[in-house]
Amino acid sequence: MGFSIIWYLREFIRGEWLKNFFFAKTAPLVDPPYFRGYPALTGKECTHCLSCMMICPTPGAIEVLREGETWTPHIYPGHCIRCGLCVEACPEDVLDVGRVLETQHRDQTEISVRYQVTVKPEACVRCGNCVVACPVNKEADPQLGATGTSANDEVIMKIRNGNLWVIHDEKCTGCKTCEEVCPTDAIAIARVAEGTQEGKA
């Protein structure tokens, strides 16, 4: 009878074990200062530039949502890999995590983003769809959208001298409308993110 239920309970429900289990005294769990958690709000105002969403390498980890009159970035912890890039990309210091913002301020670094517009001339039929659909072009040349004729050189790209020329890609906001409306996949927008330090390239 050495393996009866009574024996079993006596063997395992020991007062000391239970006490240790329920009243264990360990040091409290605190994040070390260098630990990078999920980005949190600093309370500064978000301008809805979406730099954070664009730099984020993980699909669905950050979303800037409207709350009444203001915008607020939301982090979805299940997707976020805590890389901290959104913190670095935000020009308004809306987000912070670990020592990212502190380091960034000390070293005067920032992430700047620009867009490179590339056209494959052998595929492009110069239809002008991208030229008239581009929202930046529409602003730069108010008659362009209605006539299909670009009348000034303030636009990002235009049909000139038998080709689609990109003349102001620094104005591109990366909306990719042009890619969407191009029937021949001839235009491509590449985002170029660059870490820069003040006074240095």
Binding site: V125, R126, C127, G128, T147, E180, P183
Partner: protein
């Protein structure tokens, strides 16, 4: 020299915003045109025939304009059934002179319409043309349908100037307010930007149009699960898009006119548009290829009452496509002399017709050496309308546009040459 607001003499879009820079007789820059237009314009002065050529016992020799004109008038006067064919890439003025000359000769005048949108016109004659200008489409349409055509390749700027991507006066968010439906047998480039791509099995257009008509009529119960490869769900979706649109515009190309069913297809499309007009506004426009092929129909119609294939052998204008069309006349070896103007049957007609063409006296009026050149006895080079000659051309929606010249190469215009041939004809045959 910089020429502004020039008109592109390539396709039926007749884009009128080109900037062309010339140095002497060379074009050095073309702005705003698509690939097709700029390629044609950049080579404006090139590859031209220096002067008229005539064939003597199989050998080409140079001839003077007088001699060539004399020859042309001679063969037309000698013939019992002269054919005056082509007319799509020339000025309206020349087309008009051509009609008068055909009438005096008692000949047949036909344009390239008979091998492209002829069926569209037959359908329009049966059930009417619910058309409008491209300006209406641009400013109002929130649904664009392209059927049996690929505007990206054939009319590259159609979408950016007149339809989907152009800003419309009555549309707030430009192209985001518009829907684009493409119906074709092949998945072309245009499919990648369409909201709905309907892939029809070749020859199935008529059935698909009928199914859509049934659905719009409220009789979707008669539509089987698939029609010519298109699922009923998609047809219901397309019909709903059409009915919900505030203003729909259907454009169609030779994929509809020249596929099995021919003019019946177009008739069915017009009747679908008619049906849709019970629910909303809907229009239909053929996408015309050559920049002034529509002009030939307009000019022929306002002069003779008929749009192409007009036969004057009975002293009055007579029209019977299938009988008086160029292909059929040639296939039956009926015409015994031909004047070909600004078109290239050598590249497009059946072999049987070309054999006959090569066996009769034929004069070609064309600025360049073409596939038709080897088949003719005499070729007279002229100025190209829209390059070195001004003139009238009709856009695909029937709007006449004055095309301008930007080069001076010293060639006579089509109107001048045909006018001179006509003068010679008149010396012999009195009106």
């Amino acid at each position: 020299m910089i020429h502004e607001d020039m008109i592109c003499p390539f396709c039926g879009c007749l884009c009128d915003d080109l900037v062309i820079e010339t140095k002497g007789t060379e074009v050095v820059r073309v702005d705003n045109a698509c690939t097709l237009g700029s390629h044609k314009l950049m080579n404006a002065g090139k590859h031209r025939l220096k002067g008229p050529i005539m064939r003597d016992s199989g050998q080409w020799r140079d001839a003077s304009y007088e001699e060539a004109i004399e020859y042309a008038a001679g063969i037309l006067l000698d013939a019992d059934r002269p054919l005056l064919y082509g007319w799509s890439s020339t000025q309206g003025e020349a087309q008009g002179t051509g009609v008068s000359m055909a009438e005096l000769l008692g000949g047949v005048i036909d344009s390239t319409t008979s091998v492209c949108h002829g069926p569209s016109i037959l359908a329009i004659q049966e059930v009417g043309h619910p058309g409008c200008t491209l300006g209406q489409v641009k400013n109002r349409a929130d649904l664009i349908v392209y059927w049996g055509c690929n505007p990206t390749e054939a009319h590259p700027r159609h979408m950016s100037r007149y339809t989907t991507y152009a800003d419309g006066y009555f549309l707030e968010n430009a192209f985001r307010d518009r829907k684009l439906i493409l119906v074709d047998v092949r998945k072309t480039e245009t499919a990648s930007i369409a909201d709905e791509f309907v892939q029809v099995k070749p020859g199935g257009d008529y059935a698909v149009l009928s199914a859509l008509r049934a659905i719009v009529r409220g009789r979707e119960d008669v539509v089987p699960p698939t029609v010519a490869g298109v699922t009923k769900e998609q047809l219901l979706r397309v019909a709903a898009l059409c009915k919900e649109a505030k203003f729909g515009a259907l454009f169609f190309g030779v994929g509809l006119t020249m596929s099995p069913g021919k003019y019946k297809n177009v008739r069915n499309a017009i009747e679908l548009v008619d049906e849709l007009n019970r629910h909303t506004k809907f229009t239909l426009t053929p996408l015309r290829g050559h920049y002034n092929v529509y002009g030939s129909n307009e000019v022929f119609t306002w002069m003779t009452g008929y749009p192409y294939a007009v036969d004057f052998s009975r002293q009055i204008a007579f029209y019977n496509p299938g009988e008086t069309t160029a292909v059929d006349l040639m296939a039956r070896k009926e015409c015994d002399a031909a004047l070909i103007v600004a078109s290239d049957p050598g590249a497009h007609f059946p072999k049987k017709c070309l054999e006959h063409l090569a066996s009769i006296p034929t004069v070609l009026i064309d600025p360049m050496h073409t596939m038709t050149t080897p088949l003719v006895k005499c070729q007279i080079p002229t100025a190209v309308t829209g390059m070195d000659a001004p003139g009238t051309a009709y856009r695909m929606d029937g709007v006449p546009i004055h095309v301008k010249k930007f080069l001076d190469l010293g060639y006579p215009t089509d109107t001048e040459i045909i006018g001179k041939i006509f003068e010679k004809v008149k010396e012999v045959r009195h009106p």
